[in-house]
Symmetry: C2
Subunit: 359 residues, 2 copies
């Protein structure tokens, strides 16, 4: 990340005001407007001088000579960095969000869906939520269900709480009892094992068991190494009008692209909320867009991502707060319901966070 130049307090303030005004109006903002609309105690000429400095340092730019200033990506980054972390959503919004989660079924898919919908509405942007995946997913439970003929429905439950299904065509027709026996044996052998563990035990199995296990391994492998196993998107409508978000929509639709971006941003391992402005020069697809993302889950071990995507010109404080809030909620749910090692299995109710600030 480029080094940020020191600014005087007034310059910092002016930068913040330029950003605020530009976010609100969408028009470039001039010195006179700033003085009048925000009641500055200095004259427009002074503001002009400061704007000049900000311009030289690259925090603001003007589309053409003698036009108002608009914030640059660097300007946004400086602003976001200075953003105090204690901005919260209004109480009633938080209550509404919590309320919706309380009404949902106890199901990670439901929560993901809900988180995406909530974020999209609150941040008035596009949003996405990826399923929480353990760094190395583990086998939890297998079930084989006879359907008709040699077709068998295989259901695999992973340590992440995800349930994978897969149709399987056997070489011969087998009764359900035989299938159950196979499933039971594999369950006893493989419970809580990861990909590598299971691979080494492949030799101990008979032909049928091995056939099933190979499929299990396929699935484990495909959810391993954090590819995106499932994603919920929402709120695309919100960014349709904005210029330059077409690339972003492309990003949201293309799993592989998204996975790439997430892999790199998450590799930074930042615990809190991360703000990627204009692609930070690394992702062409995010040019002119901002992505605010945060992990949820049990950090470093078992986590997913919630994120908001919108135009560079967006209310950062609000949206950062929204992402943080929803990520925290999701973390609570995942911790209580899906973390194997959960320390307090006693209280069975949705997390409440009653001790949050009143506003």
């Amino acid at each position: 990340m480029a080094e940020l130049q020191p600014l005087t307090d007034r310059q910092e303030n002016i930068l913040a005001l330029v950003i605020k005004a530009y976010i609100e109006t969408g028009h470039s903002v001039g010195s006179k407007t700033l003085v009048e609309d925000f009641g500055l105690e200095v004259s427009s000429a002074t503001v002009r001088n400061d704007l000049n400095v900000l311009g030289e340092l690259g925090y603001v730019a003007q589309l053409h000579t003698s036009a108002g200033r608009i914030p640059t990506e660097k300007g946004y980054r400086y602003f976001v960095q200075r953003l105090s972390g204690d901005f919260h959503l209004p109480l009633h919004e938080r209550q509404m969000i919590r309320h919706q989660f309380h009404q949902a079924r106890l199901d990670i898919e439901q929560w993901m869906k809900l988180a995406a919908a909530t974020l999209a509405r609150t941040a008035r942007s596009a949003s996405f939520v990826t399923a929480p995946v353990a760094r190395a997913n583990r086998y939890r439970h297998l079930q084989l269900i006879s359907t008709h003929g040699r077709l068998v429905l295989m259901i695999l439950v992973l340590s992440s709480g995800e349930v994978k299904q897969q149709m399987l065509a056997l070489a011969e027709t087998l009764p359900q009892s035989r299938l159950s026996t196979v499933a039971d044996r594999l369950n006893s052998l493989f419970v809580d094992r990861d990909y590598d563990d299971i691979l080494t035990r492949l030799g101990q199995l008979d032909t049928l068991e091995e056939e099933v296990t190979r499929l299990v391994l396929d699935i484990l492998k495909s959810t391993d190494n954090r590819p995106i196993s499932s994603v919920y998107r929402d709120g695309l409508v919100n960014i349709l009008d904005d210029e330059g978000t077409r690339h972003a929509i492309h990003l949201l639709e293309e799993r592989t692209l998204l996975a790439g971006v997430l892999a790199e941003t998450e590799a930074q391992g930042s615990d809190g909320v991360q703000v990627v402005i204009g692609g930070d020069g690394r992702w062409e697809e995010l040019r002119d867009c901002t992505m605010i993302l945060a992990r949820y889950g049990v950090t470093d071990d078992f986590y997913g991502t919630v994120a908001v995507v919108g135009p560079t010109r967006m209310p950062y404080d609000r949206n950062v707060a929204a992402v943080r809030y929803v990520a925290d909620l999701m973390s609570g749910f995942v911790y209580e319901y899906y973390s194997q090692e959960a320390a307090k299995p006693s209280v069975v109710s949705l997390p409440t966070y009653e001790d949050e600030p009143s506003d």
Copy 2:
């Protein structure tokens, strides 16, 4: 549906040419252009006269006096109705599509995803695919898996092939063996039963069994009556540039809206491909859009929908063919792998349709 006026052969031909030219160029098309570009055997004046007739009947319109003609929605409808059903995708495109399906895993979700992706690319439009749902979904199999404390993961397999999962908080901690016993009992009681059947048997159960069954009933009910249980979308990028498709994207994102439209269009019970142009006056969200949809599955009993959504100005013959082809493929898969009553359980391979027209 409004009655369609009779037209002379030449007028019909001219209407088709206007539509063809407009779809290609996007510009309004005049009499002279028609004669020159398509080598008509009559003069432009004659064409003008016919255009006048078409205009009076409402098949074409002009944006302003003395501008070229563009097709109206009514014009498109007439054209589509006349469209011969024997237009097929080029052989190599069909081969490519089949190839992709052959490489997919044997899983209805995979197929839905693939169908959406394929349609989006082939028709260069947005697309969606809904899961096949039986009119009355039936219970197939239940599994209860102890996680930690009083939390239990319940997995319910439905006759549609869908696998539903749901977390469940019990009143007390129970061992896995007890849970398995409950699941076994419910499985033996309820297999192949629908909502009503199960409801009447609620009295025969103990407290724990009843608690589980109530959740089962909830899920059955929520997938009953054809609400949309799951949808895959794709290709939104393709219609981003077009005017008037914003509403359509809204429609694609809002499950309830989509469900409403599908409920009404499917109620018509047409077996083949259905083309809804400009919302047919019934759906504001589809103004300026065209939706081409077809059922797949075992008709009237167990079916889902594949569809394409794009601007009114789209290549109808091609897109109708694409929707029909993908729907047929999906029908084949569903028939072989998910239909309980499948008559030929012997051959276990993807349907091939080798007998299709060579081009």
